[in-house]
């Protein structure tokens, strides 16, 4: 089944709107191209995608060379909040931006849930909607 980009975008938008403290989310390819995104205004999705890919590839390299195994998550914690990268499928990486009030445990759960949904859509496992 073909990937429904509109649906992906909608899933991201709903996630950003409903999950507390989440400010933005993007799904990017490992070579740094945007697949779908819902980002705060003024943030260039092309740049965000490229940065996510660069960060993830360095993280994975650290995982390999310093014997940390496969990378499940990369977390950047700043004064203004968090940037969390999670691998979604082999062809997609999931980035979320959350503010500094976010509770990491909740955010992790939220990410897990939405990734399950995104994965279904990306791998074409989603049930076609019957009319």
């Amino acid at each position: 089944m073909a990937i429904n980009v509109t649906k992906l975008e909608m899933t991201l938008q709903q996630f950003v709107a409903n999950a507390s403290n989440v400010q933005g989310a993007a799904l990017v390819s490992p070579d740094g191209l945007t697949l779908a995104s819902s980002l705060p205004g003024g943030m260039d999705e092309e740049r965000v995608a490229a940065m996510s890919a660069a960060m993830l590839s360095l993280g994975e390299r650290i995982g390999r060379e310093l014997n940390r195994g496969d990378i499940a998550r990369i977390l950047v914690e700043g004064e203004q909040g968090y940037g969390i990268l999670t691998s979604c499928t082999e062809e997609a990486v999931f980035l979320i931006l959350a503010d500094h009030n976010a509770k990491l445990g909740v955010i992790n759960l939220e990410i897990k849930n939405v990734i399950g949904e995104l994965r279904k859509q990306l791998l074409g496992l989603a049930q076609p909607v019957g009319l």
Binding site: A50, L58, R61
Partner: protein, 190 residues
């Protein structure tokens, strides 16, 4: 031990990763990912963060080689890498005139951020479709034959060729340091 940081940059497919892989004494660190953009027509994998290689040069100098991604969307990596560099190499494929504009943009980007010695390496110079050096220099914006950076043909897959290019760059760096030293001396005398 002194460390000299050299950045290897240039458009997609110019041979930056090969350049570093060819000369590095350690197994080069790469961050290759499957290409899904227009790069895919040229090669299957592309650098998304950086390449890293190391080379001992003489007794007390170690060269650290950093390769940049070629695509402009990774220009934040260009910025990160060039800021700490002592010198840089711009690799340009001689047989891909469509890349000259991108090479020129990278050149302007680097020049703007770092006033450091540089070298232009012309890869694929043996390709039948390769442009002559003089015309590539014009395309890169070097209209006058004076004040051009040193330019050498480079085969990124051949150790001697890469070593020669690095030697030429280090020579340019040494010249630059000497000029700086002379200038400081002159200032001190006045």
């Amino acid at each position: 031990m002194e460390i000299m940081r050299i950045v290897v940059t240039g458009p997609v497919g110019a041979g930056k990763s090969s350049f570093i892989r060819t000369i590095s004494e350690i197994e080069a660190v790469d961050t290759d990912r499957k290409a899904t953009d227009e790069t895919a027509a040229l090669k299957t994998k592309t650098t998304v963060a950086m390449d890293f290689g190391r080379l001992q040069f003489g007794q007390n100098v170690a060269l650290h080689l950093y390769g940049t991604p070629g695509q402009e969307r990774f220009d934040f990596m260009w910025d990160i890498l060039i800021r700490k560099a002592h010198a840089f190499v711009l690799l340009v494929s001689s047989h891909r005139p469509q890349d000259f504009r991108s090479a020129r943009r990278i050149l302007a980007f680097m020049r703007h951020r770092a006033k450091i010695p540089m070298l232009i390496g012309l890869s694929h110079a043996d390709n039948p479709a390769a442009w002559p050096m003089e015309e590539i220099m014009l395309a890169l914006g070097y209209l006058s034959p004076h004040n051009r950076p040193p330019t050498v043909p480079v085969n990124a897959l051949e150790t001697t060729s890469v070593a020669n290019a690095l030697a030429a760059l280090i020579e340019a760096y040494a010249r630059d340091q000497m000029a700086e030293l002379n200038r400081l001396n002159k200032d001190a005398l006045i």
